[in-house]
Amino acid sequence: MAVTVSPERDIVANPIQRAIREALYAGAIVLGLFVLFIGLKTDQNISNELILVQRWGLLAVLMIATMVGRFLYVAYGQPFLAKQKIADVATGLLPASVATRFFRLPYFIAAIAIVAVLVLLAGSLDGLLGPALAGYARFVRALAIIYALAWVIYYFRAFILAHFSGLGITALALYPIVVVLVLALYTGSMVGGFQGSLKWVDNFGIQILIYVMLAWGLNIVVGLAGLLDLGYVAFYAVGAYAYALLGTHFGLSFWILLPAAGAMAAFWGVMLGFPVLRLRGDYLAIVTLAFGEIIRLVIINWREVTNGSAGISGIPKVSFFGLISFNVSDPNYISKVLGIAQSGAYYKIFLYYLILGLCLLTAFVTIRLRRMPVGRAWEALREDEIACRSLGINTTTTKLTAFATGAMFGGFAGSFFAARQGFVSPESFIFLESAIILAIVVLGGMGSLVGIAVAAMVMIGGTEALRELDFLKQVFGPDFTPELYRMLLFGIAMVIVMVWKPRGFVGSREPTAFLKIRRAVSGSFTKEGHG
């Protein structure tokens, strides 16, 4: 009988036979899963009847690809990784040495060389290689740039980790300026720079920051107070509709309505908080989910006020404290005041700084609150509700303040969202949004502001980036639309990241209050409390 010392040695021992078996299993499972859904497609014919279209070729390709992939992974990938691990243990190197091996100086020089060559040839790539290969070349260039950036980050990791918040805030503050300047250099004119920056500032910058703010707001409820809230989007909706309705009907300015929307959302947070005070864990989750759905359904059905599914349009723009307006027809329109060319980009850049300011406000308030009695009470509540009560903390007010504070930031984000879109409809406030925000909070590592910001950047930025992958069209043919696969890939990424790092990107739960020395409560040792 063979004595196995460690699973690694077992994997190295006899891989090929195992690989063939596993590949066959994988193929059978893929066949079973996909035979009806990919092998056949339901389609409407001319007389509007459902017919079946057969796609066995696609099914076969998928099956073979899975089998080959599984075979290669089990036969070569697993033994390779296991050998690495054994070597690391034998030589006493830490697992980090894998990263050191990956980020070597010659690789960096090679990546820089590839980027340099491809950038120099950028204009003549199509002529040299033809459109299809040029697409691949651009993809390689992007990968090389990413690798080079990652190398730089890895090389300066100690410095970056030590000054993370400062560097991050500086980078965010400079982001639109850098984008505009780079694009201005690229196109050769300032106007071109502003025009081109629209997509980068709006789709990437503002979009990500809205989610960062929402996730930081939800973090107060879920990450600090440990109350599982699946209906956070309700407060977002309350804020958005508060600004949309009061702004369009009464012409009130954004700067008055922003605190009003926050207060209204906080009020609804308390309204939700009262009935659910006695509930714990998953009962709380389902009631908050139900609350989110109720708000959405009321918005859809209360047509006299909310205009139902059609939504509200023509929501007024934000002005720079009434001094500078972003409406072209106004006398104090920005380009008239400052004497520059007209462009829609100014408004987007202004909105970018506005949401950045709101985000920083959220972070600041969260950090300060954590040091105050109420924040400590939240963290105590998260760790152990019974101990918390027996020490004389009023759990009712603690829970209510958590709901109200979290909801308030949701309301701020909502009114910003309404101002940015100029249009709100119930479509934007579906459960999926709540799920995405919660996923960002958990993936980032609950309670960690930096981790959550990174998670938002990866998940939202990643899905936005999928809109840009036009070269895939050249690979898979013109019918291929990467946008369709956006949410599918988002879901897959959620599962993979969670399985890979169950504690999130930044997975420690450092207590804010401590005696003499700060001792991190290691995530893997604490069991999640109820409630």
């Binding site: 499972i29 079973g32 899963l33 009806l36 859904f37 990919i38 056949l40 497609k41 339901t42 389609d43 459902l50 017919i51 079946l52 879920v222 599982l228 009935p275 659910v276 006695r278 509930l279 714990r280 864990g281 998953d282 009962y283 989750a285 389902i286 009631v287 989910l289 139900a290 609350f291 759905e293 109720i294 359904l297 009321v298 859809i300 059905n301 019974i386 459960f431 999926l432 799920a435 919660l438 996923a439 958990v442 369709l484 696969y485 949410m487 599918l488 988002f490 879901g491 897959i492 990424a493 959620m494 599962v495 969670m498 399985v499 169950p502 504690r503 995530g523 069991k527 999640e528 109820h530």
Partner: protein, 300 residues
């Protein structure tokens, strides 16, 4: 009175479907303490599988007796969704067992997104209407009962009886109940916990597939996003009845069904979901662990 009885019958039909889905939620919750958010989408996958099998049967044989067709649809849908749920459990939930409570919840939400978008990508985003399969309607004393409704209620009763037998009288059911009470102890006494959990997922998926087939037969249309609303309602039903309790799931399903049909009949159809969710909140305020749920013992 006639109107009331009519609504009672409609509610019973709707409640049966919710009850079948709710059992899947409540069983998984009972055994590993997680909300399986992807269960609603498993239900949708079941309905789609039934639809595709129906089309295959229609294309290959011109006249299959509808009872046999329904039976084949159900069996294929059950096999397929079982495979789906088994794979999902293996890929997304098992690696996270013993991790903190929110981790499997997030993968479950991720899997729910994956399943509905997978069906959207592979089968297209449009509604899929099928010709009516069963159209006979009996009228007794001014109350009309369609054959569809009779089939739904009968199938539900038969399945529940079978299921009750499985859980209460077989060694498999005993293993499940043991795992529900104490996984470590069950493992020490020789129960294969992993296998039992896998079988629980398979059983839940099979019931959801039946519910999906019945849903397709009843409404005659299915779309990729159909998993969400019935899924949330069924989960509401499971919580209302007391999550973890099997009779509670059926009771909760029936209650949600009745509330919905009564509200649409006497008040406004637009707010029927609002009514169902509000009643959930009200019930939970007074009975914080559902109607038949055991109150959780607070331990220090």
């Amino acid at each position: 009175m006639q109107y009331f009885v009519q609504q009672l019958i409609n509610g019973l039909t709707l409640g049966s479907i919710y009850g079948l889905i709710a059992i899947g939620y409540t069983m998984v919750y009972g055994i590993i303490g997680m909300i399986n958010f992807a269960h609603g989408d498993i239900f949708m996958v079941g309905a789609f599988a039934a639809l595709i099998v129906f089309l295959i049967l229609g294309a290959m044989f011109y006249s299959v007796p509808i009872v046999i067709a329904l039976l084949i649809m159900m069996i294929v849908a059950m096999l397929l969704t079982s495979l789906y749920n088994w794979t999902i459990e293996k890929v997304a939930y098992r690696p996270l067992r013993g991790s903190f409570r929110l981790a499997p919840l997030i993968t479950a939400i991720g899997m729910s997104i994956v399943l509905s978008n997978f069906v959207q990508v592979t089968q297209g985003p449009r509604n899929k209407p099928v010709p009516p399969m069963v159209s006979k309607v009996y009228t007794i004393d001014g109350i009309s009962v369609s054959l569809k409704q009779i089939i739904i209620v009968l199938v539900t009763i038969v399945l529940l009886a079978l299921f009750w037998y499985l859980v209460n009288k077989t060694s498999l059911g005993r293993a499940q109940r043991a795992c529900e009470q104490d996984q470590k102890m069950a493992a020490l006494l020789g129960v294969d916990v992993d296998r039992t959990i896998s079988i629980t997922f398979i059983m839940g998926a099979a019931l959801a597939a039946v519910a999906g087939t019945l849903f397709l037969m009843y409404y005659g249309v299915v779309v990729f996003s159909d998993g969400f609303t019935p899924g949330v309602k069924a989960f509401t039903a499971a919580v209302l009845g007391g999550i973890g309790s099997l009779p509670g799931a059926v009771l909760g399903g029936l209650m949600i069904g009745f509330i919905e049909s009564m509200w649409s009949a006497y008040f406004s159809i637009d707010y029927k979901d609002v009514a169902a969710f509000s009643i959930l909140a009200i019930v939970l305020i007074f009975l914080p662990s559902g109607i038949l749920g055991r109150p959780e013992v607070e331990k220090v």
